[in-house]
Each structure stands twice: as C-alpha cells, then as structure tokens.
C-alpha cells in the first residue's frame, strides 16, 4: 500500500505540473477578461443573458410555469416583438423595444424545486455556466432569501419573484436584491380597515400558522394589525408544513370562543386548511351572536382554483389582479391573454414587471454593472406597470404601491374570475418606516459587482 501512496503522490505532482504547463499560454485569472467594465458576466457580444429561476417541479410548478410565461413575454417586448405590453404604459420611456443597452435580451431557465439548495444550484448554473447577469423568479420566501443571498455573494442582481415574508426586504435584505411583490405587513395594513368595516372591532381571532418563517411573519403582522383594531387573539397555533389533514387543528377552534379564523398558510397548505375549515361548517356557523368568518391574508389565483367553492366570500389580500382598471393592467392582460389564452396571475405580473424594471434600470444606467443598476433602482419612482404610482425605496429595496383587498367571488363568470376586488388600498396606508421592528435586524450591505 505504501507503494500505492507513493504512486499517487507522484501522479498528483506530475498531473499538476503537466496541467500548468499545458495551460500556461492562455492562463489568466478572473476577471481580467472583462473588457470595458469590471463586473461579473459583463456581456461581451450582442446579447445579454437573464436567468429565470422558477419552480418547475413540486407543488408550485404551475405558479412557476405562469412566471415563465410572463418572463418570455417580457423578453419579447424588450426585444421589440409582440405588442409591447406594458412598455407602452410605463412612465419611463427609456426602453425602445430594441433590447437593452443595444443588446438583444436572451434568457436561460432553471428549476428551483422550491428548495433552497436546488434553487441556489440552479442560479449558480446560470451564473457560472450560462453567464447570466441577473437572476429573477421564485415562488416562496425561503427560496427568495436563499437566492438573494447567493446573488449578493456572487455579485449579480436578484429581482425577487413571488415572496411575501417580511424578512426578504427586512432582516434578510441585500444590496443586490429587489422585491416588487408586497409583504405580510402590507397585507395586514391593507386588510385591517376592511376587516373593521366588515366585521367590526369586537372580534376574537384564532390563528392557524404554517410553522416556518414566512408563516410567523404573517401571523405577527396580522395579529398586530387586528389587535390594534381592538380584536382579541385567542390562540396562535402552529401547524406542520404539508400537513394534508388539518382536522386536529380545526376542531379546537369550534369551542374556543373565537369568531374569526385566520389561515396563515400558502399554496397546498392553504387549499387544504381552507377547504377543511369549510367542511367543518366554519363558513356557516354563528359564534358570540356573529357570523363566524375565515380570513386568508395572502391569496393567489391558483390557490383559489385549488380550493374551489371554499373561497367564496373569504377575504384576503393580493398584490395585483388582472381585473384592475388601469392602462398598464389592461395592456399586460391583453398581450398575455392573446399569447396564452387566459389572463395572467399576480405571480406572472410581478415577474413581468421585475424584468421590465431591471431592463429599464440598466438602460438608464447605461450599464449592466450591478452597482449601476442598484443606483438606478434605488428611490426610483414609476407608474404604468399595473399597480399605480410606485416607489422602489432605497432603504430596503422594497416597492411601495397600492395593495388589493380581495374576496372570493360568489358567482364567478369563468375559471379565471374567482376573486373580486373589494378595495384598492393606496400606498400611503401600507407604507412603514424602514426601522419598523418587524423589519429590523437587517443590513443591505454594499452592492457587489462580483469582481
């Protein structure tokens, strides 16, 4: 065996020497190959590559598919194909439909699997192998925070997709990361006045919360907002992720004296917990002389489809809806609907908008350098992208815009018409200060160009 070890050492040495010798003529260390600008993956040819990292397998695959549709549409519009969509209504007129900074936009895709590890592996592949200059997409906060961290470390821009946790632009915020989607605090702030109007100030709320960070931030936000109305919080019960049957958490609600059930669940968990709560008669019963009510603070169209009849009359909040009455929404819904045959989801809208905002920032900055993009996006005010006047706040890279309070529609006209807009809550009412305790503890750090 000693002989073998000797051999191996010899081999190793020989191998390294040979490798170095072979390679010597064209040996250079990153990032000297960047010709004009010093940042990672600076586009050198006539194209610029964006990385679309969405869930393609697992429970959120359909949401991911919708995000991907939106991204493809955005790329078409940026390159001057199709009808231009929201580029026509966007308040910034920098983008001309001839690519970005004179370069044609191309894209690569990856599968996050809604797992932090897989999402980071996929993002790394796009950055290391395909030369992606920006990563965007995703359908959960855990993944968003994980990929945002990766992009900060590696030095590319991250434009978050669907992520609702306060942490994404709170304690886990990063200089290279930006979120257009709203967050749990905004959901609570938007819902509170409507809840007061509809259900009064004397209510007792029972929380069922998915037992992980997003669930906790939403529970905290909603409880704080409803307690400020004068509601009492009876219990906050944590439920395991993916518990298909929630009966053991629902029956204790029956005799708890609570008259409101708040479901801090998302996706499949919410579909199951809501359907089962309705099966336990919670939509039709009376407690304390009042109608028992269920609240789903974060809605999505796919969840509404999955829960079917159960969503009727249930209040919740949303980032955007294709039925909104503004020019941007109409333009986007039209070009999406004509291409795919059905209206876009809010996940699609936020992803489309993020792609456009990135492209516009690059065009305005005249570079794809992440630090240039950060500078261009920080404090950027815009309109015409479907959510009304919006600010990308410099302090935390969060968009501040109006938030929708929606309700499951009693008589939907078609399968895409499951939610009705109850109220459009203006941005002022959902804005918080960057040092709000629910968002404290984070630090943007400095932008990282990766070189």
């Amino acid at each position: 065996m000693a002989k073998l070890i000797m051999n191996r050492r010899g081999l190793l040495k020989g191998g390294v020497a040979a490798g170095a010798g072979l390679a010597a003529p064209s040996f250079f260390v990153r990032p000297s190959w960047a010709q004009t600008e010093n940042y990672l993956n600076a586009p050198t040819g006539g194209t610029v590559t964006l990385g679309f990292n969405v869930p393609q397998t697992g429970p959120y695959a359909d949401e991911g598919a919708d995000e991907l549709r939106a991204y493809q549409l955005a790329v078409e519009h940026l390159n001057g194909e199709g009808d231009g969509g929201m580029l026509n209504t966007f308040s910034s007129k920098e983008l001309q439909g001839n690519g970005v900074n004179g370069k044609k936009v191309v894209f690569v895709t990856g599968d996050t699997q809604t797992k932090s590890d897989a999402a980071r592996a996929s993002a790394k592949r796009m950055i290391e192998k395909d030369g992606a200059i920006m990563i965007t997409g995703g359908s959960s906060s855990g993944v968003a925070v994980a990929v945002q961290g990766l992009c900060q470390e590696m030095g590319v821009i991250f434009m978050a997709g669907l992520t609702h946790s306060n942490d994404t632009t709170g304690k886990d915020k990063k200089a290279n990361g930006f979120r257009h989607f709203f967050d749990a605090y905004m959901s609570a702030a938007a819902l509170a006045p409507v809840l007061k109007e509809e259900y009064g100030t004397d209510r007792r709320a029972y929380h069922l919360t998915a037992d992980y960070t997003w669930g906790w931030t939403q529970e905290e936000s909603i409880a704080a907002a409803t307690e400020a109305l004068g509601w009492e919080t009876v219990a906050k019960v944590r439920t395991p992720l993916g518990a298909a049957d929630y009966s053991q958490y629902l029956t204790p609600v029956i005799n708890s004296g609570a008259d409101v059930l708040v479901l801090n669940h998302y996706g499949r968990d919410m579909v199951n917990s809501l359907s089962q709560a309705v099966q336990f008669g919670m939509k039709s019963k009376q407690v304390n002389g009042k109608n028992f009510e269920i609240i789903v603070p974060l809605y999505s169209e796919l969840m509404a489809q999955g829960a079917g009849e159960a969503v009727k009359g249930i209040l919740g909040s949303a980032n955007w809806d294709w039925k909104l009455d503004n020019a941007g929404t109409a333009a986007f819904t039209k070009s999406f609907g004509q291409k795919y045959g059905f209206p876009p989801s809010q996940a699609a809208q936020t992803c489309y908008v993020q792609a456009l905002l990135y492209a516009d920032a690059a065009q305005r900055a005249g570079t794809f350098n992440p630090c240039g993009i950060v500078e261009a996006l920080e404090g950027f005010e815009f309109d015409g992208l479907g959510n009304g006047p919006t600010l990308y706040r410099a302090a935390d890279h969060q968009c501040f815009k109006s938030v929708l309070v929606v309700r499951g529609k009693e008589n939907p006209e078609n399968q895409y018409d499951l939610l009705e807009i109850v109220k459009v809550v203006p941005a002022e009412q959902v804005t918080y200060s960057p040092d709000n305790p629910m968002f404290a503890g984070g630090n943007l750090g400095t932008c990282n160009p990766g070189a």
């Binding site: 429970p59 298909a244 009966s247 029956t251 499949r268 199951n272 008669g281 999955g306 609907g337």
Partner: protein
C-alpha cells in the same frame, strides 16, 4: 371534554385513512415481500379517477361567440357541460355525486392497473434484491406522477363531496352535550364507515374464501403450495390487484378531504411505510391497529395543551411512536418472524 371527544373523532377518521392506505401496502410489502415504492402512486391514481370522472362529466360544449370578447381580447367562449345538456337534472346529479360514483369506476380501473403492474413488472422482481425493487418501483412512481402532472398540472384540483354529504352531524347533541359543541362533517363519517367496510371485507376475503386460504398458505410456504399443484403466481397477481384496489379506493374517498395533486401519493408513501412496519411485517391486523394508534396519538399530540407542554410534538409524534414501538417490540405490534428482517 368536548375537545377530547372531537380529537377522538379526528383520530378515528385519520386512523381509518392510515389503516386503509397501510392495508393495501401490507398486502404487497408485508406479505409478498416486495418493497413497493409505487404504492403512493396507486393512491394518487385512485384520487385522479375521481378527478377524471369529474372532468369527463363536466366536459363542456364550447361555442365561440361572434360578438362578445373577453377582457383580454380573445373571443368569448360560452360553455355548457355536455352532461347537463344531454341528461338535464340527472346530469347535474351525476356531477354532484362524481366522487362516490368514482368508486365504481376505480375498482375495475385499479384491478387492471394492478394486474398490468404485477404481470409486466413486479413479477420479475420477486426474487431480485430489495434494492432493485426500490429502484424500479420508485422509477415507476415518478413516471406515473409525471404523466399525471403533464395532464392535470401541479395545482390541487378541488374534488368536492356531494352536496347532500357536505353537512355536519351534531354528535354532541346525541350524547346529551350542548348542541353545536361536538359537530363533525358527514363526509368524514362516510369516509370512516367506508374504510371500516373495506378493511372488514379484505379480512373476510382472506379468512373465509379459498382464495384467501391459498394466499395465506402461499405466504407461509410458497414452494409447498406450488408442489401440490396450485398456480400460486396467479393468486399473487390477484392479490396485487386487490392491494391496488384498496389503495385506489382510499385515494377516491380521501379526495374531498385533501384536494388531489400529482404529488399527493408521495406524501402518503412514507407514512404508509411507517404504519405497516409499526404494525409489524406480515400482519394485516397489525397494520390496521397501527393506523388507528398513530391516527389517534397524532390527533392528541396536536392539542394546544400538549403542544404547550412539549413544543413541536405534533411534528414528530408519528416517528417518535414508531421508534418507541420498534424498540420495545422487535417486530412491531404484531409482526411475524422472518419477513424482511435481513
């Protein structure tokens, strides 16, 4: 008191579901000795029989409107379900009762799937190492899942129980408690009753019929049964088909409670393996007992009082019980010696 009573109901309901899922698995795994990772997929296929029937019944005649357009600019489509168009009110009834009707369809469908699976694949793996069985059945499960995903998407599909079975039963009032304090959904009682009937039927089949006698003999000593001139392989094929039917029916009946998606089988897979092993390999009674035990303990562990005492207990209770049982009883609750112990 009310809370405890409700949790007992939850436990029985959950337990019956676990028992039913484990029963199918233990027929294949505990007695035929095949590590069947595709069992969850059978459950999923059952659930999707209900979904498919519902889709077929609600197939719509599409008339493209000449004048009206949708909000996104394409021509408006006016849809009316064929079933309603052709059968009128009876069509409505069929759609409403699509889940119970699916049971009738699921039985032959699952028999065929079971036979095809056993003849085409599983049969060739009886004498292969367990490792090979795992790989091939896991591969099969993925393929089946992906086909369903390609067809139905990844989102859960609402599959409601019939209107008349969506109400509540006031159990408490029957026991002299305050009305409305112990109420429980009708469909969950239906599900519970159905499970009990199926479990009883499987037991009766194995206990009182020639088929059952041969199968039991074959499990005990396969070679001798072969020597006396019985074609044991044919019996094992039917045994596999029976397991598939049980799994499929469990899938149908559970669809109104947990909206099916393509991944639903995988989530029950691990659980059903745990239930079977806790019950003990080769014991149908053990699997059923373990199903109810785990169902009831899980329900109680989820009570706020218990959770406050031991945080996170509801997350791990199933596995904790499994560890405790397997350490105190070497072959689970009622396992027979020599089955998959090496």
């Amino acid at each position: 008191m009310n809370a405890v009573l409700l949790q007992i109901l939850n436990g029985l309901d959950k337990g019956s579901a676990y028992a039913l899922i484990a029963l199918g698995l233990t027929l294949i795994f505990g007695t035929l000795g095949v590590v069947n990772f595709a069992h969850g997929a059978l459950f999923m296929l059952g659930a999707f029989t209900a979904v498919t029937l519902n889709h077929l019944l609600t197939l719509e005649k599409v008339v493209v409107s000449q004048t009206e357009t949708t909000a996104w600019g394409t021509p408006l489509e006016i849809r009316t379900p064929y079933a309603e168009q052709i059968f009128g009110d009876f069509g409505q009834f069929l759609i409403d009762y699509s889940v119970p009707i699916s049971i009738l369809i699921a039985i032959p469908v699952m028999v065929i799937i079971g036979i095809v699976m056993e003849r085409g694949l599983i049969r060739h793996f009886y004498h292969r190492p367990h490792a090979d069985q795992i790989l091939v059945t896991f591969g099969l499960a993925i393929v089946l899942q992906e086909i369903v995903k390609a067809w139905f998407g990844a989102n859960p599909i609402p599959t409601p129980a019939p209107e008349s079975l969506r109400g509540m039963i006031d159990v408490g009032a029957g026991l002299g408690l305050q009305p409305g304090s112990v109420i429980y959904p009708v469909w969950r009682f239906v599900n519970f009753g159905f499970s009990v009937v199926v479990i009883a039927a499987v037991f009766a089949l194995l206990r009182f019929t020639t088929f059952g006698m041969v199968v039991r003999a074959g499990m005990a000593d396969r070679e001798t049964v072969g020597l006396i001139g019985i074609d044991i392989d044919r019996y094992f094929t039917w045994m596999f088909a029976l397991a598939a039917v049980v799994a499929g029916c469990a899938g149908v009946m559970y669809a109104p409670i947990v909206s099916p998606d393509y991944h639903v089988g995988m989530e029950f897979l691990v659980l059903s393996f745990v239930v079977v092993v806790v019950g003990g390999m080769g014991s149908l009674t053990g699997a059923v007992a373990a199903g109810f035990l785990l169902g009831i303990l899980q329900s109680f562990a989820s009570m706020n009082e218990v959770k406050n005492l031991v945080p996170g207990i509801d997350q791990v209770i199933i596995y904790l019980v499994a560890v405790v049982v397997l350490l105190t009883r070497p072959r689970g609750l009622m396992g027979r010696a020599g089955i998959m112990e090496t």
